[in-house]
Amino acid sequence: MDKAAAETRRLARRDSWESAFSPGPLALAGAALSLTLLFLPGLSGRLFIFAFAALCAWACGRRLSVATTAIVMAGIVGANLLVPLGRVLVKFGPIIITETALLEGLEKAVSFEALVLLSKASLSPALRIPGKLGSFFSEALRTYERVLEHKLSIHATTFFRDIDAVLISVYDETETIGSVAAVSRQGSKNKLLWAVACVGLLAVFLSAIGWF
């Protein structure tokens, strides 16, 4: 009963979030905050963004797992501790916890999960990407929605047979989808906004791989 109530509350939060923000500007804000996080030196600022991102991710009503987040963060910190670096803080038999390794591990773990939470809060499946790639992507999404309509006809015992029947049925339907997509391939009004978003996204990737 509690589980059902929690699910209802989550869906209500999701609806409020989606009605409050448009997908494009929200994605831009997410990209900007992700960039800020990557450029922030030290742990405290990143912890602040992590807390804010966690709050946003909760408010946006996306499914979150505290256990998975904790396990991933512990794994990242643990892996960084395997190579001792800096002043020794504690020794538990063969396990040595060193200061620099611990701080680096915490910084990486907090950044990793903060980026995941920011993405969850700022990216909506309703987000439409501009240009030719965007129109192609929309075409794929429309087909995906058609596939989802058939999901109840797929059973574990006859999985391959059912999947094959769905593929044949949806593939025939996509001829119609293709012609609709050609009509919807029109320029976006918010070209400048999207250009900023693309530059931001590129900057996130470049900074993530250490190019600047």
């Binding site: 994605a27 997410g30 990209a31 992700s34 996306r62 998975t68 396990i71 991933v72 794994g75 990242i76 892996a79 960084n80 501790l81 395997l82 190579v83 680096e104 990486k108 990793f112 980026l115 995941v116 920011l118 993405s119 969850k120 809060a121 700022s122 990216l123 499946p125 987000l127 990407i129 790639l133 192609f136 992507f137 075409e139 794929a140 999404l141 429309r142 087909t143 995906y144 058609r146 596939v147 989802l148 999901k151 391959f160 047979r161 999947i163 094959d164 029947a165 593929l167 044949i168 949806v170 593939y171 996509t174 001829e175 989808i177 293709g178 996204l201 996130v204 990737f205 993530a208 791989i209």
Partner: protein, 206 residues
């Protein structure tokens, strides 16, 4: 003759009760439209399989089977290189938007892993032709993908400790590649849809 073309002959009993139409090879003017349609369709299939995998419980947070790579595996024999690479890119983009991970390291790992795996499978197919089965292709893709992801993890997340993860991740790649490869091989020998699409696109590979 490509494997998909051979499969068409082997698939003597259609799985669907409806009569299976015979598709002639594509005319050049229709070729681009047809490749676009198939690429979008395979991308949709990847999104769907990704959603299925998202719902399955994972024993370890980083561990996943990679069901969404099956459409890319089939595309090795069905699409020319530019459309094939577009499929891999759109798969990453779509999954990142749908699961909300586009601005995180996860998207970067996914992009590096998927593109490497796609290129590795294509390369193996080009070099070994049809002496390698879908299982071999899948193992090559999975292992190369995991190798690149461990290298990226060394740079971004785990530091030097990533070397301890390498054997486990390569082992996981081998196991998941074998499992997916067997599933894909089994499906490919029975699928009426794949035989039909292979008949149209099998000859237009680059």
């Amino acid at each position: 003759m490509s494997k998909v073309m051979q499969r068409k002959d082997r698939c003597s009993m259609p799985l669907s009760d409806e009569p299976q139409p015979v598709n002639p090879p594509l005319n050049p003017p229709n070729e681009q439209a047809s490749h676009r349609r198939l690429t979008a369709f395979l991308a949709a299939m990847a999104f769907f399989l990704s959603t299925v995998e998202y719902m399955l419980p994972r024993p370890i947070p980083f561990m996943r089977l990679g069901l969404a790579n099956i459409p890319i595996l089939f595309a090795v024999d069905l699409l020319p290189l530019p459309w094939y690479l577009l499929l891999a890119l759109v798969k990453v983009l779509g999954m990142s938007v749908l699961t909300g991970s586009l601005f995180s390291y996860i998207a970067l790992f996914s992009l590096a892993g998927t593109m490497t795996s796609a290129l590795a499978m294509r390369l193996v197919r080009r070099v070994a032709r049809h002496r390698v089965s879908l299982i071999g292709l899948c193992v090559a893709g999975a292992v190369s993908s995991n190798l690149v992801q461990v290298l990226l993890a060394r740079l971004l997340v785990f530091g030097q400790s990533a070397r301890y993860m390498l054997p486990a991740f390569l082992g996981l790649g081998l196991v998941s590649g074998l499992a997916l490869g067997f599933a894909a091989q089994r499906f490919s020998t029975r699928s009426a849809w794949l035989a039909r699409v292979g008949g149209q696109h099998g000859q237009s590979r680059s």
